[in-house]
Symmetry: C2
Subunit: 350 residues, 2 copies
Amino acid sequence: MAGNKGVSLKDVADKAGVSTATVSRVINSKTVVKGETELRVQKIIKQLGYRPNRVAQRLRSTQGASKLIGLLIPDIQNPFYVDIIRGIEQYAYAKNFAIVIGNFSQNEERQKFYIEILKSESVDAFIVAPFPGMNEYVKELVEDGYAVVCIDRGLANLDLDVVKVDNFQGAFDAVEHLIKVGHTRIGHISGNTLIPTTMERVAGYEAALTKYGIAIDKDIILCRDSDHKSGVELTEQLLDLPSPPSAIFTSNNLLTLGALETIHSRGLKIPEEVAIVGFDDMYWSMSLNPPLTAVRQSGFEIGRITIELLYQRITDPTRPKVSIVLKTELMVRNSCGHKLKTAATNAVVK
Amino acid sequence: MAGNKGVSLKDVADKAGVSTATVSRVINSKTVVKGETELRVQKIIKQLGYRPNRVAQRLRSTQGASKLIGLLIPDIQNPFYVDIIRGIEQYAYAKNFAIVIGNFSQNEERQKFYIEILKSESVDAFIVAPFPGMNEYVKELVEDGYAVVCIDRGLANLDLDVVKVDNFQGAFDAVEHLIKVGHTRIGHISGNTLIPTTMERVAGYEAALTKYGIAIDKDIILCRDSDHKSGVELTEQLLDLPSPPSAIFTSNNLLTLGALETIHSRGLKIPEEVAIVGFDDMYWSMSLNPPLTAVRQSGFEIGRITIELLYQRITDPTRPKVSIVLKTELMVRNSCGHKLKTAATNAVVK
DNA sequence: CTGAAAGCGCTTACAG
DNA sequence: CTGAAAGCGCTTACAG
């Protein structure tokens, strides 16, 4: 069982007294090999601890048989993407895919850089949460014959497999909850407005306000980047307003954590002085101060489905593109208050 | 600038009117090429948007020139490891290394599985946070000629490059802080006792107690796994004791988050009813309830140094092995209380 | 300084 | 059902 560095197809072939072609055939079992021969070869493979060299396999077959998937992740510090990675990983290896991750830190240049890197690594599929401006790059990927699945968001004018979440509804639910609990002046902090996810959540936010007859005030809708720093700073802006909101809906977990930091550093009480509900649940949400009410989306499930779609795409490149939209779930905890709970709720409803 | 799938060394050579050997030489610039020729080739490379196929490069040269690093991470859900990955990634690409990550979820079998996978991907270096029982595997890696650097912990009886943190001192500081603030009955929750990191932290904990004349009570030192679930359950055990501790020192961030969950779900006040200090700081620690006092170790810095060591190891395989030990920093926030603050502290000191 | 040629470890038509 | 041979895209002695 020593290191198998050096055990090659040829070693197995020699020892089994067959050609390398035959050994290759029993391994890939696409062609029929005589039972007797197959058993003998299989035995030798075990005995020698032989493992195919995937690099050589990849160099040889450009037919998607290499089973290497490039994964373009916007931000590995975001636990939501970590969940996606975990889901992808788990199901990928079950299908004998290997994964190589490129974490581009929400930087468009770096995303392009990684695409080049991964190409030169001869991946034959890409999983990508595309950034604005990636349209032509992703398009090219598809034209070049790569299997592509988008996660978290698609790309305008491009027909692609995408697996995402119902951002509109998730945002709507969050804001509706805030309203039912008595808030009417609700601020919103979100990410890059060129990312569809951002705009869907903004739309859900606005729809909820509209449904309850609350006017939309653009001054308390602040969009920038989906990171901790923006969460801190945009919350400061919101709270510095002459007429600050009594509640904030944050559009992702990093923004939420940043918002909490600002609120706490100002010594404001949640939810009494300012309420908060965030998109993205975290497994430690209940240990935050206070336990956070949040919109849960399952990254793990997104990962699972992504691999399924990719597998289908590779085996049947003609399958029509699909868009899978998962439901979200509002996890109600204590960061929004409950001023008007049940009965009183009606007072607010128009 | 269309997809360069298909542009090969030979294409460049043909267009430049030279041999592929020459093109290869200007790319790798190990041998001298005539200035004039070099410029012409370089121009064509740009023009064609040529990028070497790393798979072919890797297949060809078994000399560590392939620059692919396998990264074995115990748990990608742990933000500490995410920081390490970020550090590694950032510096690796600067040195033109590519990284492939295997997340083994603290599972020994899966770690072995990934080693095999990564071997068959022809990585020429490994970065590994070894699990107990990995001794012979890692030893084999070194014998097989892979460059290896251990992170977070080394391996008994193996002389390896390792970059870690002063776990003993970090734990000592945390517990000493608890003592100075008035606690004398301090519980400890930690991970797998076969992992050196665990034992170093336990030792630091015990040394602090001993220094202040507090007897060590094995009943309140609970070790299992370094995950959220263990944090929840071991904290329950601790609190169910006839004489529960007034403070808990948790040995890593997942345990801390689990402990907080238990404490909160029982409605206990921190730090009044039970104080807590954790190993591993998180960027949202101040937004926890209450803001968490924690031992900070810089994963990012560990990552940076790891790449540096790996680079040295590859360029000079004979360099003596080193062990880099980084300092930790106690971030004092509000989870330990301040009963006896400054002056009173002396009352406790023996 | 540069080219012809071998070979890294596989897979896959092409014969038989 | 199986083998001989070509070739994936590179790098590197070996000559010149």
